[in-house]
């Protein structure tokens, strides 16, 4: 998996050795109130060697991808593939049903078969007339894919997330910016990491989030 495909949300991870002793940690969040500070913080955290990090912001912050080291998503390729699938579907659907150029095996029931649909003396394979349907199916397949693949790659819907239990974190959809370090990060240490984030310029507060 690339870095982009492992967001730090998620509840499924387990570290049984620690879990028995103390409450299992989900990670920590540091609060900031402007774009400059959060970009600075993201850079600092990345340079300090943290890998499983994230930024939560009320809107997409320009330049945060570089600061966090987020790699480009694979989404456009999935959409392209599904767009081509849609086009092929449209092409086959129209030409198969309106002409009988495809060899149909005996086992295909009669109501599945295409036939020579003669109307106004138009050619059976009137591709120009089929273009609207082919075009719409291309768009339909790719647009649906763009939406659903985006949500699936983002592992959404995810109704239970320890982050959402934090009162402070509610402002992540309003006017505050949060840097998050996942407890699964190799360098993560609740006290040291919290201290590190706290000392970043502009940091307003640090909160350690417990998992459940």
């Amino acid at each position: 998996m690339t870095a982009i495909d492992t967001p730090i949300t998620g509840t499924g991870h387990a570290e049984p050795a620690e879990a028995a002793a103390e409450p299992k940690l989900f990670g920590l969040i540091g609060e900031f109130d402007n774009v400059d500070d959060i970009i600075g913080a993201a850079n600092a955290v990345r340079e300090a060697g943290y890998k499983k990090t994230d930024v939560h912001s009320p809107f997409p912050v320009h330049g945060i991808d570089d600061a966090l080291g987020i790699k480009p998503t694979v989404l456009p390729w999935i959409v392209l593939a599904m767009g081509l699938t849609g086009m092929t579907t449209g092409l086959l659907l129209t030409t198969y049903t309106m002409a009988d150029w495809l060899p149909i095996p005996e086992r295909v029931p009669e109501n599945f078969e295409g036939y020579k649909f003669l109307i106004s003396g138009k050619p059976f394979n009137s591709l120009a007339g089929f273009i609207p349907v082919i075009f719409e199916l291309t768009i339909m397949f790719s647009a649906y894919t763009a939406v659903f693949a985006m949500f699936l790659l983002n592992k959404l819907p995810m109704m239970s997330n320890p982050l959402l239990r934090s009162k402070r974190f509610r402002r992540a959809t309003d006017d505050r910016f949060f840097i998050a370090i996942d407890a699964r990060d190799a360098q993560f240490d609740a006290e040291q990491s919290a201290e590190f984030v706290k000392n970043l310029p502009g940091c307003l507060a640090v909160e350690v989030i417990e998992d459940e």
Binding site: P58, P60, H62, I70, T97, G114, K122, M150, L153, D175
Partner: protein, 481 residues
């Protein structure tokens, strides 16, 4: 959203942002609002109890919507004879209304997709409710052809599925193209609208006070946390959707125009129809955007987010597309004359002088003359004049569909098959009641959903941008507020 650099340094309190100063960008959010201010302004509508105006408006509109469904029930048990449709004017009101409503939808997609690709940042304040308008207009549009098919319980025959009759739909027919175009358009618009709304639903989830509200918004926000990785894919998906919706919206009304242009009827069989219809759709759609935006920004207290500049920009787009529509009208007449085709020439003489002169001249006044007031800067910045122009276009764009559909059908090649079309009271009531369906859906949207794209508006505020190349300027954004 990706490459937006408004770079405004003007204080935004009480700024007249309709002035164009080429050295700096006009602010798109005024009134000194900061991020929290924008959230508060928009979320207030959804998190407080509706006022009396909302209740009374909603009651009237939903009663009309009920009326609409009652008429549909009446139609189903009686048959299409309750309409004024006849031979040769078999299309009548249902198809006129279909084209009218589906055209209105186009402005929403234009604002959300095409203006996005063109990096027109001002779209962010109005795109959400323009998209809502699109979906509700397409809902109304979809109903009319479905009930016009005569036996609407068999409307599913339009879709290609293997059936016991061993028959396939006729893929060379524009009417079938319409099925694909409109269903793709409706569903993709809905997805586009919802996708853009997810981050704002998360905002409402975090702002909602009532338990029911929290559960409702949590469910539809899908657990959105504003993660940078999520935003990264979200923005990519949004860009792709915009790029897909742009040809889609142009294709939909082109296909609608094929319903006419592929037929051989004089007045319909012209190649100018697709661009003419698309321009007309955007013209009518922007008129509806203005009709809705101007009262809503006053009512919901959103004047600092939907600013005068937004209204003026919409008025300019409306004026511009109106000129394209006027050009198309004149080209139709020119080509009719230049073709030397007798039937074509007759139809175009018949429109201004024949059996539907009222329709034609209403159309000319409403679409070509009335909106010209917007050339004058004083009128363009006066809400009453803009409203006047928008209402002209709303009316005019219905009449243009009436003129195209009815005049051509009523006077085709054979004088023996000529006839006159008279709408019945059911025709008129159904059309009027379809506004009730549109309006009640829109009222529900105004009350329960984020009416402004909160997260997108924040991206076009100066504070949303890191000051360039490091240094000591953490407070650069705050000075603006």
């Amino acid at each position: 959203m990706a490459a937006i650099h408004p770079g405004s340094t003007i204080p935004t309190v009480d700024t007249d942002n309709t002035v164009d100063d080429p050295t700096r960008r006009a602010p798109l959010v005024t009134g000194g609002l900061d991020f929290a201010g924008v959230t508060e302004n928009v979320a207030r509508v959804a998190t407080t109890r509706p006022d009396l105006l909302w209740w009374s408006g909603f009651l009237v509109l939903s009663a009309m919507a009920m009326g609409f469904f009652t008429f549909i029930g009446y139609l189903f048990v009686t048959g299409v004879g309750i309409w004024g449709n006849n031979q040769p004017i078999a299309w009548g009101f249902p198809i006129i209304n279909f084209v009218f409503w589906v055209g209105i939808g186009h402005a929403g997609t234009l604002i959300s997709a095409i203006l996005f690709l063109f990096r027109q940042n001002w779209r962010t304040s109005i795109n959400r409710f323009a998209e809502a308008m699109t979906i509700f207009a397409v809902v109304c549009a979809g109903i009319f052809p479905a009930i016009h098919v005569g036996r609407p319980w068999l409307a599913f025959w339009l879709f290609p599925y293997p059936n016991q009759m061993a028959m396939w739909p006729q893929f060379r027919s524009p009417l079938l193209w319409d099925v694909f175009a409109v269903s793709t358009y409706a569903s993709v618009s809905l997805l586009f609208w919802y996708t853009g709304m997810v981050p704002d639903l998360a905002t409402l989830r975090d702002k909602a006070k009532s338990r029911i509200g929290q559960i409702f918004y949590s469910f539809f926000a899908l657990g959105w946390t504003g993660s940078a990785r999520h935003w990264h894919r979200f923005e990519k998906a949004y860009l792709l959707l915009a790029a897909l919706c742009t040809p889609l919206v142009l294709s939909v009304h082109s296909v609608v125009s094929f319903d006419f242009a592929v037929a051989q009827l004089p007045g319909w069989h012209t190649t100018v129809f697709p661009p003419y219809f698309v321009a007309g759709a955007i013209y009518g759609g922007f008129a509806m955007v203005l009709t809705l935006a101007i009262p809503c920004r006053e009512w919901l207290g959103l004047k600092h987010i939907i600013t005068m500049r937004h209204i003026v920009n919409c008025a300019k787009v409306m004026l511009g597309t109106g000129m394209i529509v006027m050009y198309a009208y004149s080209i139709e007449f020119f080509v009719a004359w230049y073709s030397g085709h007798h039937f074509e020439q007759f139809v175009f003489r018949n429109r201004p002088l024949g059996n539907y002169t009222v329709g034609f001249w209403t159309m000319v006044f409403c679409n070509c003359i009335g909106p010209q007031v917007l050339w004058i800067k004083k009128c363009r910045e006066n809400l009453w004049w803009i409203m006047f122009a928008a209402m002209c276009v709303n009316i005019g764009m219905w009449f243009v569909r009436f003129v195209i559909t009815v005049t051509s059908l009523s006077r085709d090649f054979l004088p023996g098959s000529w006839a006159q079309f008279h709408p019945t009271w059911v025709d008129i009531c159904m059309f009027a009641c379809s506004f009730g369906l549109f309006g009640s859906l829109f009222f529900l949207f105004l009350k329960f959903l984020p009416v402004i794209a909160i997260s997108e508006v924040k991206t076009v505020m100066p504070e949303a941008h890191a000051s360039h190349h490091g240094g000591d300027h953490a407070d650069a954004g705050k000075e603006d507020a």
